[in-house]
């Protein structure tokens, strides 16, 4: 309940100061890492203390484990992830020829399971899916998010931008109301970051575990009292596409730690 009042209290301020959301200027772009306390930063920086590394470890095991009717492991096709998966997370979501739409890493892993391994899809936010996704994304750690070049993704990214700027929910806030117009200020006890996706999947102290970007996006939607999109919904992938463009140049941090 305290959270609810805290949030409701700033609605007035946010609506007054809202102007057309212009996005974040290049020189002001900052990872969520920069907004954390020294202690939480240290937790992320030490691989022997970062609890997200437990998911990387599990993902590595799953990568080499044969699955499905085809009895083939991810490694059976893709070999050593440290080479074949390096940089992949930095350029996802990517265009999927089969569906003619963008797909995120989770979508790619599950379509690979269906088509190559002949296995059941892994459930959203299951430990196995998070572990595999974290392991794959971890291979890109330290690599900057490259500029968007695939023209086929443009309309989907535009839709993501539109969603980011649309007011939703009982509190009538858009993502931009907080993360463009008011980043750096405080909401309750915590600093409002710029909503960059470069650390996901990440270990959130609040969750006491690793979670996906989609879980975080749904969180925010519940936060403004809106009905969240379902896991895997096209809108969430489009939002992710827009967030990746906005975060261009920031390094992948997976597994990041956030409060």
């Amino acid at each position: 309940m305290r959270a609810l009042w805290g949030l409701a209290g700033v609605v007035g301020a946010l609506t007054c100061s809202m102007v057309a959301a212009a996005g974040i200027k290049d020189g002001e772009k900052r990872s969520g890492f920069d907004f954390m306390t020294r202690e939480t930063q240290a937790l992320q920086a030490d691989d022997m203390a970062n609890p997200g590394m437990l998911w990387v470890l599990q993902g590595e095991q799953l990568w080499h484990q044969a699955e499905g009717k085809a009895e083939i492991a991810c490694a059976g096709c893709h070999g050593e992830a440290s080479q074949t998966m390096r940089g992949v997370a930095a350029r996802y979501p990517a265009y999927d020829e089969a569906t003619g739409r963008p797909t995120d890493l989770v979508g790619r892993i599950n379509s690979c399971r269906a088509a190559r391994q002949e296995a059941e899809p892994l459930a959203p936010e299951s430990d196995a899916l998070l572990a595999l996704t974290t392991y794959v994304a971890h291979q890109s750690r330290g690599m900057p998010i490259p500029p968007a070049t695939d023209a086929r993704l443009a309309p989907f990214r535009d839709n993501g931008r539109r969603l980011f700027q649309s007011r939703i929910g009982q509190l009538d806030l858009s993502c931009a109301s907080c993360h463009h117009t008011n980043w750096g200020k405080r909401l309750g006890g915590s600093v409002i970051p710029q909503a960059h996706p470069n650390g996901y999947p990440l270990y959130r102290l609040e969750w006491q575990g690793v979670g996906s970007l989609q879980r975080r996006l749904r969180n925010c939607m519940v936060g403004v009292r809106a009905e969240p999109f379902a896991f895997g919904a096209p809108e969430l992938v489009e939002l992710e596409l827009y967030l990746m463009e906005q975060a261009q140049g920031l390094p992948i941090e997976t597994p990041a730690v956030r409060p």
Partner: protein, 161 residues
């Protein structure tokens, strides 16, 4: 979590005030005996650890961040002054809290093979409070150190209950 909670519950033939009263009574019955009455105080928990002996201030350093972003994982380090030899070492280091549902946090067992009396872990703090570390020396004496942390609450938490 599901935003589409039905509204008709408000129009049941029971007044809202009665519902509220019933709710509060229910809360008292369920949570009081377990979380408030059953918990020993910080001092009681420490006396149980020391077997009734007094813990003196000093010889122990407790490092705890004064401002905590999330109480689910608070890094804590305890150092005790000791040569850690066979006849002069730290036997145990206990950590205790003031306001969690249980006073005990963790008890470390050390010996001369530890080399140094230094331990670290991550703990949960339900709210802003005092944390105490107590070291038991091989001569049977107890030494302690206390620190307090302010735990801030995030606005955009997942569970809105």
């Amino acid at each position: 979590m599901n935003g589409s909670r039905p509204n008709h519950g408000l129009f049941l033939p029971v007044g809202r005030r009665q519902l509220l009263a019933a709710g509060i009574a229910g809360l008292m019955v369920v949570s009081l005996p377990r979380q408030v009455l059953a918990r020993p105080s910080l001092q009681e928990a420490i006396r149980t650890f020391t077997g009734g002996a007094d813990a003196q201030d000093g010889r122990v350093r407790l490092e705890l961040p004064p401002l905590v972003e999330n109480g689910n994982a608070v890094g804590i380090t305890v150092n005790a002054e000791s040569p850690m030899t066979a006849d002069n070492h730290v036997r145990r280091i206990g950590i205790f809290n003031e306001k969690n549902p249980e006073a005990n946090v963790i008890v470390f067992h050390l010996g001369p093979r530890s080399g140094r009396a230094q331990v670290s872990t991550r703990i949960r703090l339900a709210t802003s409070q005092v944390v105490v570390a107590v070291a038991e020396m091989s001569d049977g004496s107890f030494w302690s150190s206390r620190a307090s942390a302010i735990v801030t609450l995030a606005a955009c938490i997942e569970d809105l209950s």
